[in-house]
């Protein structure tokens, strides 16, 4: 297997079109295809290693958006003044310092794991991706891009080129990652609730759950219901009842379905309480 180390996006795309799989930091790929001690990982496909492509390392404001190049690492994002604090906190809880120094945001999205910790945020914020291929660029929302566990809309000749994050302000952002420990833990579940409230006016409310269904859960209907319940000072039980149907977790070696569901709903309740108290 010959692996390739392009320096330009053009070369990267040529290599990609040859059927090579993109590799960012490799922190998912190297683990997924690991082999016996001392044996190289057993990749099923040749790779194109994107680290050397400077064109993918952009990180800048672009109008109402923040553009994040596919080559930017989680650590660089955690250290950048452009990135919202809530997102920095989310990324700061991913893996560990060493891994974050290699891992990219594009890789976290490309991996398309239901437990990927950046996804609830990106989906809550309506982030989108610029996909680039030999036929040119297209933009898709992160929510649409991920179609199932490990499944995406990425075409065989495409790369994620950048992530576009709208610049928005919220008055409340409540995020909770529940993992087995504080670092180097895969989420058992995660919750993100965000809202913009001024006095009694609720201008915006968004809710996302991670790791508790094949895809990140975000529902316009649920959010409308939550806004409505909030305005009439109703019981959060109704909202919980709604989301309970969407939350379809599994039992695995890290946790139980019952725990994942119960705690997700507890966190939703806590978010609504926080919103009231605001």
């Amino acid at each position: 297997m010959v692996n390739a180390y392009p320096r330009t996006l053009k070369d990267a795309l040529t290599l990609r079109a040859e059927g090579r799989r993109p590799m960012g930091g490799g922190t998912d790929l190297m683990v997924r295809f690991r082999s016996a001690a001392g044996v190289l990982p057993r990749f099923q496909q040749s790779l194109v290693f994107l680290r050397g492509v400077d064109e993918l390392k952009n990180l800048e404001e672009r109008g109402d958006l923040i553009a994040i190049g596919a080559g930017v690492t989680l650590r660089e994002l955690c250290e950048s003044p452009l990135i919202p604090v809530v997102f920095k906190n989310i990324m700061g809880q991913m893996a560990s310092f060493a891994i974050r120094s290699e891992a990219t945001l594009a890789g976290n999205i490309g991996n398309a794991s239901p437990a990927a910790d950046s996804l609830p945020f990106l989906i809550c914020r309506n982030a989108s991706l610029v996909l680039t291929g030999q036929r040119g660029d297209r933009t898709v929302s992160v929510a649409d891009f991920i179609t199932g566990p490990g499944k995406t809309l990425l075409a065989d000749d495409e790369l994620i080129r950048e992530i576009l994050l709208p610049r928005e302000e919220f008055t409340l952002s409540f995020h909770k990652k529940v993992g087995g420990r504080r670092s180097d833990a895969i989420s058992k579940l995660s919750f993100l609730g965000e809202a913009r409230r001024e006095g009694n006016n609720l201008f915006d409310l968004r809710i996302a759950f991670g790791s508790v269904a094949p895809r990140i859960i975000r529902s316009e209907e649920g959010e409308a219901l939550a806004r409505e319940v909030f305005s009439r000072g109703g019981n959060t039980k109704d909202i919980e009842g709604f989301y309970e149907k969407l939350i379809t977790p599994i039992d695995d070696q890290r946790s139980t379905a019952e725990y994942r569901k119960t705690v997700s709903l507890n966190l939703l309740r806590r978010f609504m309480e926080k919103l009231r108290e605001q």
């Binding site: 082999s35 044996v39 909770k176 504080r182 833990a185 139980t256 725990y259």
Partner: protein, 701 residues
């Protein structure tokens, strides 16, 4: 006056470890052609091997199995029931059947993936419960001290509770690994070992060779925690057989996943306690029973069971003790040595039981425990005598002051307070149980002064990160009053070092260190180059009856008190540590910072055992077989431990030192469990206290 030996110096291995220059077994290079070994393992839980179909033979793949074993095809431990290679049957998933050896690991892997083994499956025991219901224990003991029947007859009330503990994985830094070199003089085994002579004796047994032809060298070892006590003997026997057959250097290195799936774990246990209390709520006696899951082989289980039972009284004196226990075999990964060796299971149970009893009789748990503390001159659980000063009352006062225990305990008792604080009291018997040191180990050390006046420590005990080299070099330098750099302590090589016993059982500093002090006294009488030796002899007053489990089980005990403070999140049921405090009596620290290392690591490993470290088997397969899924804590999960050492020099220890290696783990689980109980307002009978379990506990009341 010489300076206090406890004053810390830099560990002698600091530089090589922190610079990365230390060569662990997989980092070493070997002369000549190296053949790698991969293991073909049982893919079923229990059954007969009917047939093995191999892909067409290749010149670069060699098969080594039980038919190649020149001597005995079992690992020599206590019982002869651990096959080096499975013959016609397998008794757990992952049991080794054969080795594939060759120069290219990728080829070996590919070859292995095409081997087909046909089995005739049999119905297994998958859990301890299962085995207890349907089989007899393979070993059992009884401790009968005082008159429990009489005590329970006199009792105003009796209380009974049952506890359950799970597996624990050692997660040493580098996975298991060993290299066998075939030479003209015989076979040389180098690996990550705790007990070079265990390896040597096992290989002698399996090769059927004489001792001179088997040489064992310890490679740099990054932690072991008991996991490198008996398991390395198995893989060393395997590569020795391969090396002799193929006349090649054979290298066997596990990756983490394989290591976590097939190497020994801490014994799961079921422990029941019954206490007979008089009208004043004093315990007249206890009856306890321990059932241990030995996994698929006996291994060291019998000795682990003895420790678990001898710990039946905790740090207390009960006039009557009736303890029974048994080891049951299941078709699961073998249980084996793990720091604490049976004691952590029992201490979790006895400490929780004492807390619960206190609650039942309406007393403060610490006050209730304090009035039952063993004192100097009291009988031990096995009818021996506590001969040395016991400073527990003072240590409890100390830890209370350090942690603000009383105030917090009161505050957190209020209903609905999400915080809790818990205290555990514990001890650990130092050295081998009973007359093990005198009857089985018979430790011998050499000390040698060379031409240049440097003094060489020749013992078979190893530094595995715990600081043994530094500790022993200090002992020798202080005894001879020479600078530390005049003392040499290389990794043990059985060609040069005598058998001073294994590096286990909190024995090395106390027993081997003491022998080195004796050797120093002898060396001082010699001038110029000289070699002296010292041999262990048991103090006359120690009497032990192994069959009756009667007498002095240990020559000395180390003691400890832990306090842990937590908060339990009522939405996620996660437990956050807020504080950890400890006071220990290890006799005399040979080096304060090294003991501090034992305290930090042991305490966290004990808390992890109680709180996070869940290892379940499903159909015989380890579910949490990666460090991702098996939750050992990270630095960000822990707090800074405030620790205090109380000097209580032991007359027969070097400079007064007793054991410290295992002690520091034992109190972690019961302390954190007590804290969680308070935070939760519910009683706990099982560890680990993972959030899923806490949620269930609260829901079911």
């Amino acid at each position: 006056m010489r300076k206090d030996i406890s004053r810390s110096i830099g560990k002698v291995d600091n530089r090589e470890k922190s610079s990365g220059s230390a060569e662990y077994i997989n980092d070493r290079s070997w002369e000549g052609e190296v053949h790698y070994a991969l293991t073909l393992r049982s893919s079923i839980v229990k059954g007969k091997i009917i047939n093995i179909t191999f892909p067409s033979a290749r010149e670069d793949v060699h098969i080594v199995d039980y038919r190649d074993v020149p001597g005995k095809n079992f690992v020599s431990i206590l019982e002869d029931d651990w096959p080096v290679f499975a013959e016609d049957r397998v008794s757990y998933l992952g049991e080794p059947i054969l080795l594939l050896c060759g120069p290219d690991r990728t080829v070996l892997e590919e070859y292995r993936s095409r081997i087909v083994v046909d089995y005739e499956e049999e119905s297994p025991f998958l859990t301890l419960q299962d085995a207890v219901e349907k089989s007899d224990p393979i070993v059992s003991y009884t401790i009968d001290t005082g008159d429990y029947a009489g005590a329970s007859e006199k009792a105003a009330r009796t209380v009974k509770e049952t506890f359950e503990t799970g597996r624990q994985e050692q997660v040493y830094i580098e996975p298991q690994g060993v290299v066998a070199e075939y030479t003209e003089e015989g076979v040389v085994l180098t690996g990550s070992f705790q007990c070079p002579y265990y390896v040597k004796n096992a290989v002698i047994n399996t090769l059927g060779w004489s001792g001179e032809k088997v040489r064992v060298i310890q490679a740099v070892t990054g932690g072991a925690f008991g996991g490198k006590e008996e398991f390395p003997s198995l893989i060393s026997c395997q590569v020795a057989v391969a090396s002799v057959k193929l006349k090649k250097t054979i290298k066997l290195i596990y990756n983490r996943h394989e290591d976590m799936e097939v190497t020994t774990k801490r014994h799961p246990s079921l422990i029941s306690y019954e206490a007979a209390l008089d009208g004043d709520n004093r315990i007249l006696g206890v009856k306890m029973d321990v059932k241990l899951d030995g996994g698929a082989t006996t291994g060291l289980s019998a000795v682990v069971l003895q420790r678990a039972m001898i710990a039946s009284c905790g740090v207390y004196h009960f006039p009557a003790v009736l303890a029974t226990g048994g080891v049951y075999l299941t078709n699961t990964v073998p249980s084996g040595a793990f720091r604490g060796f049976g004691a952590p299971q029992t201490f979790f149970a006895i400490e929780m039981f004492m807390n619960h009893l206190a609650a039942k009789v309406g007393e403060d748990p610490v006050a209730f425990k304090t009035k039952h503390l063993a004192k100097k001159g009291d009988a031990t659980s096995t009818g021996g005598i506590y001969r040395d000063d016991i400073l527990m009352a003072q240590m409890i006062e100390e830890v209370k002051k350090m942690s603000g225990y009383a105030e917090k305990y009161r505050l957190y008792s209020e209903k609905g307070n999400p915080r809790g604080i818990g205290m555990s009291l514990f001890l650990h018997g130092c050295g081998f149980t009973g007359s093990g040191e005198a009857d089985h180990i018979k430790a011998k050390v050499y000390l040698e002064r060379d031409e240049e006046g440097r003094v060489h420590i020749l013992v078979s005990n190893v530094d595995m990160g715990q600081g043994f080299k530094t500790t022993m070099m200090k002992v020798v330098a202080h005894s001879l009053d020479i600078p530390l750099d005049q003392v040499v302590f290389n990794n043990p090589d059985t060609k040069y070092v005598p058998d001073s016993g294994p590096t286990v059982a909190s024995r090395s500093t106390m027993i081997v260190g003491r022998l080195l002090v004796e050797a120093c006294e002898k060396l001082q009488k010699e001038t110029g180059p000289a070699r002296v030796e010292a041999n262990y002899s048991q103090p006359d007053y120690i009497k032990w009856d192994q069959d009756k489990m009667k007498g002095d089980a240990y020559p000395a005990f180390s003691w400890g008190v832990n306090v842990v403070e937590v908060e339990v999140d009522r939405d996620t049921w996660e437990t956050t540590l807020l504080g950890a405090w400890s006071v220990h009596d290890v006799g005399k620290a040979i080096d304060d910072r090294i003991i501090r290392g034992q305290v930090d690591g042991g305490f966290l490993q004990g808390i992890g055992y109680g709180l996070w470290e869940k290892m379940e088997l499903k159909e015989g397969r380890v579910q949490q077989a990666t460090v991702t899924d098996y939750i050992i804590a990270t630095a960000s999960d822990f707090v800074t431990v405030e620790n205090k050492l109380i000097d209580n020099p032991y007359a027969l220890g070097p400079f007064g030192a007793k054991g410290a290696g295992e002690l520091t783990l034992i109190g972690g689980a019961p302390a954190v469990a007590a804290a969680v109980e308070q935070a939760l307002g519910a009683e706990v009978y099982r560890i680990p206290l993972v959030p899923e379990y806490l949620m269930e506990l609260k829901k079911n009341g």
